[in-house]
């Protein structure tokens, strides 16, 4: 109960009181129910049953719930109203606040207006009393009007003053110009005065001297003379000083007048003229600096940065290159062996043949000289090489002469009917003209080649040679000329050593061995032996299996009609798979000539070139290729196609015969005539000519290089190489003239080697990488700041000296 009263004290709202009542009732009922349910208490009989109590309780509970809901609704409603009232209050409060702000702002504005400081208050006006005295009509006006009037008055006054100032300025300008003019006048006056003083001084001195001289005549005393002369000088000096002081006074007067006229310029006055000793010192300083630069710095710089350039005989080198030093001639000596003829007749035959030959030949550089075999060699002269021996043999039963060139010697055998021996008197005979014709024919290709080489070279442009060249060129048939050009183009450049590499290539595993040693011994060694006077040769061989064509190369095509595989001619250049086939050049100096023996795979055999059905070709300046198609297997053979695993000598024979021919043509040997020794003789002459010309043109290139690149160094070794080259060139030329072609070739070889060495000297190349501009860029921070004062100082001194010199010059005539 106490609790209930307590609650009642708290809850005073009348609307809540019924709730409290019903709550209290409910609680009573609950307690009653609890006591009914308590088993400890014996149930009262007349008491209500728990069910009815419970029902009653439920009803009360429902009632309580309803009341509670009502109460909550009421609370909600009250809250709503309270919130609305609150909002209203807030709004009003805000309005009030705004009003306060407005009020404060306005008060502030008013205060600002009241305290505004206008410009007119600070204007420096004349005092009010003065103004009023000046303008008494304003006495009556209000303060505002008075102020306006005062300001207007002030404005007018100021404008007036400004005008006055402008006029004064103009006057000042005029004065300045006048002043300047006066100054100039004074300066010229100064000069005049100086000159005047000089002249006067001299005159007076002269006068005094003449007076003294007269006195010397009268009074004979040196000491006195000396003193009086000195005193005379002294007085003259005093005189000068006096003049100067007058001058300076005048100057000062001018200055004073200037200061009076223009007070501004009064501060600046010219410094006293420099003492001659100072000028002297300055001159010495500048001269000393420049002396150090010119006589110490410059030589050191020159010495340390200069490059060594050995003296080269440039003129001579260019002469060689231009063909002025040597015109190569080829006097080919031919010996006549006439065992069956008496000497007189032989001589006669020789003479007539020589005549006929000379008539036929119109190429002066290459001519044939006939000699009898047993002719005595002149003492002291070396014997010229014999190019050909002509053996005359009488043979019965012939109507006309016959010639036969022996294939393994340089011997031309001529069979003639004995009746055709020319009588000693006749100048011409069929036999001699036949011999001449034969010789002409034998040497035709050589002559054409020599002419071609000479005309293609710088020597061909020599002024004296064109006419014979042209006639010669006309004489060569176009086919011959073309074949010569072709041969020269594909032949290797001359070298002292050639490496011959014979390679067996095959796309499969077989053949993997070959009888190479004996084959080389049989077919290549003799050729190499014969060529040994011209060059050295090394031979190496290799077997390369699984050598496939390069993937980009077009594959061979199958020709149905002839059942062969064909390669197109234009695709032959892609035949060599340079990327994968190990064909690296041999080590050591000298080029490598490659000979490739290709054995195609059984599935692609036989393989030929489509257009010509050929199986071999030359790759110009590189080597030769031979496709070796193994013999087709016999029909009984049922095993799958495969190449033989070993190539015998017989199988290799055609290939190596081809290779030996290819080698000869790669080295530039002419194709005719049949005799190999004869062709090699020709090769010696052609090589000598080529080397001579190439060494000469290298000399020319070196000379031009030396002239055009002044910054490359030329070491002494180059100079010595050049001198060796030149001496060997001349000895080679001399040997050619004497018909000693072996010696000529030997000298030309040395000349060529030395010429190449001098041209490709390593230390002549490296200089281009650090040009002078870079050095200047690095040292510019040093050279710039030092150079500018030095040069300016020098210029000033020169100007001073020139001015002084001019002044003296202009003074002298005056």
């Amino acid at each position: 109960m106490a609790a209930t009263t307590a609650i009642r004290d708290i809850v005073s709202d009348p609307s809540l009181l019924p709730v409290l009542d019903s709550a209290a009732e409910t609680r009573d009922l609950c307690q009653k129910l609890l006591s009914l349910l308590d088993p400890s208490i014996t149930p009262d009989q007349n008491a209500e049953s728990p069910q009815t109590v419970q029902k009653h309780l439920f009803a009360l509970l429902a009632q309580l719930r309803g009341q509670s809901r009502d109460a909550i609704f009421r609370v909600r409603d009250t809250k709503q109203r309270t919130a609305e009232a609150r909002q209203e209050i807030d709004r009003l409060h805000l309005q009030l606040q705004n009003l306060y702000y407005e009020q404060r702002h306005l008060t502030g504005e008013i205060a600002a207006c009241e305290s505004y400081d206008h410009k007119y208050r600070s204007l420096p006006l004349i005092p009010l009393e003065e103004f009023l005295e000046l303008h008494p009509e304003h006495r009556e006006s209000s303060e505002h009007e008075l102020m306006e009037a005062r300001i207007n008055h002030e404005h007018a006054e100021r404008e007036k003053l400004e005008q006055a100032r402008q006029e004064l300025l103009k006057r000042k300008q005029a004065l300045i110009t006048e002043n300047n003019k006066r100054k100039d006048d004074l300066a010229s006056l100064d000069q005049d005065l100086e000159r005047f003083i000089d002249v006067r001084l001299l005159q007076s001195l002269f006068r005094r001297f003449s007076k003294r001289n007269t006195s010397i005549d009268r009074i004979d005393g040196v000491g006195w003379f000396h003193s009086t002369t000195s005193s005379g000088f002294g007085t003259s000096l005093v005189c000068i000083k006096y003049a100067l002081s007058i001058m300076s006074e005048k100057h000062e007067d001018q200055g004073v007048s200037q200061t009076l006229m223009t007070p501004k310029t009064s501060a600046s006055s010219l410094p006293p003229p420099e003492k001659p000793s100072a000028i002297q010192t300055r001159f010495r300083v500048v001269a000393a600096f420049w002396a150090v630069i010119l006589f110490l710095g410059f030589p050191i710089w020159w010495k340390t940065t200069s490059i060594y350039r050995a003296e080269l005989p440039l003129e001579e080198m260019l002469n060689w290159a231009g063909g002025k030093s040597c015109r190569p001639v080829f006097p080919v000596e031919i010996r006549f062996d006439t065992p069956s003829l008496p000497e007189v007749e032989a001589q006669q035959l020789l003479r007539t043949t020589q005549h006929t030959l000379d008539d036929l030949n119109d190429f002066s550089a290459h001519h044939l000289r006939l000699k009898l075999a047993d002719e005595e060699v002149q003492e002291g002269l070396e014997k010229a090489d014999t190019a050909l021996t002509v053996r005359l043999l009488a043979k019965d039963g012939l109507t006309s002469p016959l010639s036969e060139l022996q294939p393994d010697t340089t011997m031309l055998e001529i069979f003639y009917p004995p009746s055709q021996i020319p009588p000693p008197s006749s100048s011409n005979s069929p036999l001699s003209s036949f011999i001449a014709g034969e010789l002409q024919r034998l040497f035709a290709e050589e002559k054409a080649t020599v002419a071609h080489i000479l005309s293609n070279n710088a020597i061909g442009t020599h002024a004296s040679s064109p006419p014979p060249q042209n006639s010669q060129a006309q004489q060569i048939s176009p086919q011959l000329a073309e074949s010569i050009t072709k041969r020269l183009r594909r032949s290797m450049k001359y070298a002292e050593t050639y490496h011959l590499t014979f390679s067996l290539f095959t796309p499969g595993p077989a053949p993997s061995s070959w009888d190479i040693e004996s084959t080389v011994q049989d077919y290549i060694s003799p050729v190499v032996q014969a060529l040994s006077p011209i060059s050295n040769f090394t031979i190496d061989t290799q077997v390369q299996l699984y050598a496939t064509f390069s993937p980009t190369a077009p594959a061979p095509e199958y020709d149905e009609t002839q059942s062969v595989w064909t390669l197109k001619e234009e695709n032959l250049s892609a035949f060599i798979n340079a990327a994968e086939w190990p064909l690296n050049p041999s080590i050591g100096t000298g080029p490598t000539i490659n000979f490739i023996l290709y054995v195609p795979a059984p599935s692609q055999s036989p393989l030929v070139v489509k257009e010509s059905r050929a199986t071999s070709w030359i790759i110009p300046q590189w080597g030769g290729v031979f496709i070796l198609n193994p013999l087709p297997p016999t029909t009984q053979d049922t095993t799958p196609l495969s190449n033989p695993s070993h190539l015998t000598r017989d199988a290799l024979r055609p290939a190596f015969l081809t290779f030996s021919h290819q080698l000869l043509s790669l080295l530039g040997t002419p194709s005719t005539p049949v005799s190999l020794p004869f062709r090699l003789q020709t090769l010696i002459r052609i090589r000598a000519a080529t080397l001579l010309l190439s060494a000469s043109s290298t000399m020319g290139s070196l000379a031009r290089l030396t002239e055009s690149l002044p910054s490359i160094p030329i070491p002494a070794t180059v100079a010595s190489s050049v001198s060796i080259t030149l001496s060997h060139l001349s000895s080679s030329c001399e040997s050619l003239r004497n018909g000693r072609f072996q010696d000529a070739l030997a000298s030309a070889r040395v000349a060529e080697t030395e010429a190449e060495r001098s041209f490709f000297e390593k230390s002549m190349v490296g200089q281009v990488y650090f040009p002078d501009e870079h050095k200047v860029a690095v040292y510019l921070p040093l050279l710039g700041p030092i150079g500018v004062p030095l040069i300016l100082g020098l210029l000033k001194e020169i100007k001073r000296i020139v001015a002084g010199w001019k002044g003296r010059k202009s003074a002298a005539p005056a």
Partner: protein, 591 residues
């Protein structure tokens, strides 16, 4: 493994007895723990001395033969190696280390020459030519990288007593071995890598290996009066089986998907997102095609004596291990040994499949006779130290060996600081007098910019102990132009070579340490220009002021302005001022 390779060696020495031009090749495969495979390729061709001298090359490569003749080289050993042989888990080295080099490129040769200078010039010729042939920077082996070892190498060939042989040795530890070295290597083979076991050699797989070594040995072999030139080319690689089996088109390693992880489910913390890897009991399965990406395309038909005594592919596994070659191939088991060999059928490509298998027997790995480690210690730019650790695993035998190192000249060792420490298995360290360890010393001090230091020590390590050698060195300062472009990377120091005299094998065992990287004091490379410009500026300033002091005339400021007024410039300035004033005046009048 030594016995295995010894067998091969013996076999070859027998086959070399026939003395004719011939060619052999074979491949040995051996699984290594934990999941690697050692593949050892060997190619050997012989040519008679006579045809070699006359330059008729059949099996011998012409390019190499000409180089050797040009450089008067009688015996040549060239090595290209990458990676490190993990002797802790892989055991002793293949071929007893005789066919491997230090990291990078190593070359040594016996050159026939009259004197040292001639030998050196021939050596330079040799290195230059080999450099071109193998696309390696061998031409950088100059006098500073060339040494003449005294006791570390012995000629392997039979040389005539009349020859005056000089041994020269050079190493390029910084050289990166890659495909461009393999291609010329393959070109030297008669079958060009297009047939035979060489057809497996592919740059992608070879240089993806954990360790690989390519070697070329050329030596004369003589019996009675006849001689052969023998070229022996070897490629040894240790392939990581898992990595090699990865697809070629998907080379990027990716995490294994969770359902493929092999986890130990018995662990208490095993869950969907945690995995404790289960130890792999089973041997990994592999096949040649999977590992090398291709199969062997038939035998090289040049190989001598096909069939009967030539088994080209050999596998080194226990007998129980399954191996399935293709059906055409003939298998021979060498009983009592772990070796099994197969012939290559000529018609079909050869493949060998070894399935995954649970197996208990393992091929016993041979314990290496010595472990060696070398490292640079110390700090700072001026000094450092070298520490070499030799560990003798044998419980009762001492190891005698030659330790050879060639140091670049800019590393200047102080040999007097050489100290040895012995640590027993009990872990007790003991300072030992060097004479107890070092039996003999050959020391050739370096000369700046001319030659490196050469140090050969005859050492003996007592059983079951570890010897640590220490010495100090000083780092030289290089000249400005001597620095390479990547100077801050450091400078390579060639690996040390250890030759262990092996009494039972007759041939010495070789070990090599890893190469070292020596950091040197490196300047700022724009320094010279900065110095030039700074000093130039200072000199110019000093000179300018002194020169002006000497040459200029000093006047007061008023006098100076008066002087200026006299000059043309001054007068012009005055005019301009006047003009301006007049314009101003006009302007103000208008106002």
């Amino acid at each position: 493994m030594t016995t295995f390779f010894l067998l091969v060696l013996v076999f070859f020495s027998l086959s070399a007895g026939s003395l004719a031009s011939n060619y052999h090749e074979n491949l040995h495969l051996q699984p290594l723990p934990p999941s690697s495979l050692l593949a050892s390729f060997n190619f050997k061709s012989n040519t008679t001395r006579a045809s070699f001298d006359r330059q008729h090359f059949q099996y011998f490569p012409r390019a190499l033969g000409q180089i050797l003749q040009h450089a008067n080289t009688q015996e040549l050993h060239l090595r290209f190696t990458t990676g490190r042989w993990d002797s802790e888990s892989w055991g002793s080295r293949p071929w007893d280390g005789a066919k491997e080099g230090g990291t990078g490129v190593e070359l040594w040769a016996w050159i026939d020459a009259a004197d040292d200078e001639a030998a050196f010039s021939k050596w330079i010729t040799l290195t230059q030519s080999l450099s071109g042939l193998f696309c390696a920077s061998l031409n950088f082996i100059d006098s500073t990288k060339t040494t003449r070892p005294v006791t570390s190498f012995e000629p392997a060939g039979d040389h005539l007593p009349s020859e005056n042989l000089h041994l020269l040795h050079g190493a390029l530890p910084g050289e990166v071995v890659c495909t461009e070295n393999l291609t010329p290597f393959l070109k030297l083979l008669p079958c060009k890598g297009k047939a035979g076991v060489a057809s497996l050699l592919d740059g992608h797989k070879l240089f993806d290996a954990s360790w690989q070594s390519m070697s070329i040995d050329v030596r004369p072999v003589c019996a009675e009066s006849e001689c052969l030139m023998q070229i022996d080319q070897t490629v040894d690689i240790v392939l990581d089986i898992d990595r090699s089996k990865r697809q070629r088109d998907n080379p990027i390693p990716r995490p294994v998907s969770p359902d493929k992880l092999v986890c130990d489910t018995s662990k208490s913390y095993h869950a969907r997102d945690t995995c404790y890897p289960r130890e792999q009991k089973a041997e990994k399965g592999w096949s040649i095609t999977e590992l090398f990406g291709r199969s062997i395309s038939g035998p090289c038909p040049l190989v001598d004596g096909q069939g009967a005594n030539e088994e080209t592919v050999c596998l080194h596994v226990p007998q129980e291990r399954e191996a399935h070659p293709i059906p055409d191939s003939v298998e021979t088991k060498v009983t009592g040994d772990f070796t099994r060999c197969f012939t290559l059928p000529s018609s079909t490509p050869f493949d060998l499949t070894v399935p995954e298998q649970d197996i208990d027997t393992k091929v016993p790995l041979e314990e290496p006779v010595l472990h060696a480690e070398r490292s640079i210690v110390g700090h700072g730019q001026e000094r450092g130290g070298m520490r070499i650790i030799f560990d003798n695993p044998s419980p009762n035998k001492a190891v005698d060996f030659i330790y050879f190192e060639s140091l670049p000249w800019f590393l200047r060792p102080y040999i007097h600081t050489l100290q040895a420490t012995i640590t027993g298995r009990d872990g007790i360290r003991r300072q030992a007098p060097t004479s107890e360890i070092i039996k003999e010393t050959f020391y050739r001090p370096g000369i700046d910019r001319e030659r490196g230091t050469q140090l050969e020590l005859g050492l003996s390590v007592p059983p079951a102990s570890r010897v640590t050698l220490n010495y100090d060195f000083e780092k030289a300062i290089l000249r400005y132009t001597e620095y390479p472009p990547d100077a801050n990377r450091g400078f390579n120091v060639a690996p040390a070579v250890i030759k262990v005299a092996s009494p039972q094998a007759g041939r010495p065992i070789y070990l090599r340490t890893t190469s070292l990287l020596l950091p040197l004091p490196t300047p700022d490379f724009s320094m010279p220009y900065n110095v030039i410009i700074l000093t130039s500026t200072v000199i110019a300033l000093a000179f300018g002021s002194i020169f002006n002091l000497l040459v200029r005339r000093f006047v007061t400021a008023e006098e100076a302005s008066a002087l200026r007024a006299q000059t043309l410039k001054g007068r012009l300035a005055g005019r301009i001022v006047a003009l301006r004033d007049r314009i101003r005046g006009k302007g103000s009048k208008v106002e």
